[in-house]
């Protein structure tokens, strides 16, 4: 297992290098003089010259790439053009909210997806199966921002059950508050995160449910399941203890991949629900064409995704020895 962990960690290095090169390449895509384009038509020549110096645009691209690597090695993501603050500081203030949203959405997606997938497989060909798979097809096809709007319209505007926008206290702080006798803080945080997390989770829940159904159908035909029934075990026990444990293996790697999609979807969901995370920051950075900030955000998203996949791969290898031996 240790050899597998080392091999997998080493693979992360070229991946991270590639991601940094792509992120750096964004600056090369800017048509014309990047400094003039980024500052817009009202910028004075001095402002443009200043930005050219700050971004190192007078040097050849390979010198700038080297400097970019050097800067990143020291944990420096550069300075935002418009917020005049270090990019790492700006991102640091927002990243927690996005990760919280994505993690809650992933938990919801897994819970809903696995439950519906198992139900559909166990009742194959029944009305439950048809309705579940129809819902899954709709969930895969529904734009996340539209679902977000519909949920907001239904549960916040019409029914007035849940808050339409904003975030309660950070979830970890809220849990601590609840443990110290203030449960209403946690309750408020849950109410705020429910709609955005549900909107974000729907697409992944649909994909997971389809995958679990297919995987469960394969496992339910295996000899060991027949043996379990022959031993006289009851159906719920066979399904949950025997079949589901095996059916979930291939689903695990997909759940990791879904985290990347959730991070991307968070950009849209955060805009709709005014969730103060990296998504909103991405929107303002892109609106202002604040390239150092855009580069920092893109790289942060990519590195989080790479790390999550590393963890998922290691977990997979832990539960399925064939992976690390293969």
């Amino acid at each position: 297992m240790l050899a597998y962990v080392i091999r997998r960690l080493l693979l992360l290095i070229p991946m991270a290098v590639g991601m940094i090169v792509v992120t750096f390449g964004l600056l090369l895509l800017v048509p014309g003089d990047p400094a003039a384009v980024l500052l817009g038509p009202e910028a004075s020549p001095e402002m443009i010259a200043n930005l050219r110096r700050t971004l190192g645009l007078d040097d050849p691209w390979y010198v700038r790439l080297g400097a970019y690597f050097w800067q990143l090695l020291h944990g420096d993501l550069g300075r935002s053009i418009f917020q005049s603050a270090p990019v790492s500081e700006i991102i640091g203030g927002r990243i927690g909210a996005t990760i919280e949203l994505a993690v809650v959405a992933l938990l919801l997606a897994t819970l809903i997806g696995v439950t519906l997938g198992v139900l559909a497989a166990v009742r194959q060909g029944s009305l439950i199966d048809t309705v579940t798979m129809l819902l899954a097809q709709l969930g895969v096809s529904m734009p996340v921002y539209w679902l977000g709007l519909l949920l907001m319209l239904g549960f916040a505007v019409q029914l007035n059950w849940l808050p339409a926008i904003g975030r309660g206290a950070p979830m970890l702080d809220a849990i601590v508050a609840a443990l110290s006798g203030r449960p209403q803080v946690l309750w408020d945080s849950i109410l705020h995160i429910l709609l955005p997390a549900l909107a974000l989770a729907a697409n992944s829940a649909a994909i997971i449910s389809r995958l679990v159904r297919t995987s469960m159908l394969e496992v339910l035909r295996e000899d060991f399941v027949r043996t379990a029934y022959a031993k006289g075990l009851r159906r719920p026990r066979v399904v949950v203890r025997h079949a589901l444990r095996n059916a979930l293996l291939p689903v695990l790697s997909v759940i990791g991949l879904r985290f990347g999609a959730l991070l991307g979807g968070a950009v849209l969901v955060e805009m709709i629900f005014a969730w103060p995370g990296l998504g909103q920051l991405t929107f303002s950075a892109v609106s202002q064409r604040d390239l150092p900030l855009i580069q920092g955000i893109v790289l942060t998203f990519a590195l989080i995704f790479a790390l999550v996949n590393l963890v998922v791969d290691l977990l997979y290898a832990l539960v399925d020895p064939r992976v690390r031996l293969g």
Binding site: S141, V267, I294
Partner: protein
């Protein structure tokens, strides 16, 4: 007299429903100038936010512009961007996948590491970043979509090529002295077309979603271009009192993506029977 037999593809409900949705959409987009009941930007201030009626089949927006006419012209934009981006992404991804799978060794390693790097970026974030630096426009939006979608083709075509290159007919072609371009394009490529067609259908749905997401955020084609995402986006300003505008624009996007997804699923069932057996 033999009984009428329904051809096998027509017995696949996903293929039939998805195909019908997409055929209808293509018909509406192609003949939009003839089918539009009003001018795309023709305001009618006396009929603002009207619900569906005989005059305005899908109602009107905040300026009284006819939604039906705007949505069928919007279909042209979504489909154009979808077709451009899927064609180029398929060409790039297929070339990379064929080269990686056939040559193996360091070529495979290098190309697949590059593919992994691009797969590692969340699609919406990277497309937003690319559109931010390139600026809006059909070509730039398509380029951004291509950057995040070519990887799927590369992975699938590589996997198929790895299997095909060991087949007897490919080995025989090699033994007869066929050049590598001939083997790749005449022997291997035709047998990878099935998965590519399935991916292309699903990819069109993805392209529609990404394009409308960019327009929704205000980074798509600038108004008054009647993109679906923009129609949905400005509808949100009036969502409390006039939700119809956002609902119909979002439903149009959803039905289109559903059509492409069903078509892709149906094509997969037909072109890859093993998948069907596994799923049933």
């Amino acid at each position: 007299m033999s009984a009428m037999r329904i051809p096998k593809p027509l017995r696949n409900p996903s293929l039939v429903i998805g195909g019908l949705i997409i055929l209808t959409l293509v018909f509406l987009a192609v003949f939009a100038p003839l089918l539009a009941t009003h001018g795309v930007d023709q305001p009618d201030m006396r009929n603002r936010f009207s619900l569906p009626s005989e005059v305005h089949w899908l109602g009107t927006d905040n300026l009284g512009r006819d939604l039906w006419s705007r949505l069928i012209f919007g279909a042209r934009i979504s489909l154009s961007i979808g077709i451009i981006s899927v064609t180029v992404a398929a060409l790039i991804g297929t070339s990379v996948g064929l080269a990686a799978g056939y040559f193996g060794g360091w070529v495979d390693m290098l190309l697949m590491r590059i593919t992994d790097v691009f797969l590692g970026f969340p699609a919406v974030v990277l497309t937003l970043a690319i559109v931010a630096v390139l600026g809006p426009g059909i070509v730039n939006i398509s380029a951004a979509i291509i950057a995040v979608t070519w990887t799927e083709y590369a992975r699938v075509v590589r996997a198929t090529t790895l299997v095909l290159r060991e087949q007897n007919y490919v080995q025989a072609a090699k033994a007869l002295g066929a050049s590598w371009p001939r083997i790749l394009f005449m022997e291997i490529l035709p047998n990878t077309l099935g998965p590519i067609i399935v991916l292309a259908s699903l990819g069109l749905g993805t392209a529609v979603i990404i394009e409308s997401a960019l327009s929704f955020l205000g980074f798509g084609l600038p108004p008054p271009t009647p993109t679906w995402g923009w129609t949905l986006s400005y509808g949100t300003r009036f969502i409390r009192d006039e939700p119809w505008l956002s609902i119909i624009a979002g439903a149009t996007i959803m039905v289109t993506v559903l059509g492409f997804n069903l078509l892709g699923d149906g094509l997969r069932d037909i072109l890859d029977p093993r998948q069907l057996t596994r799923a049933k």
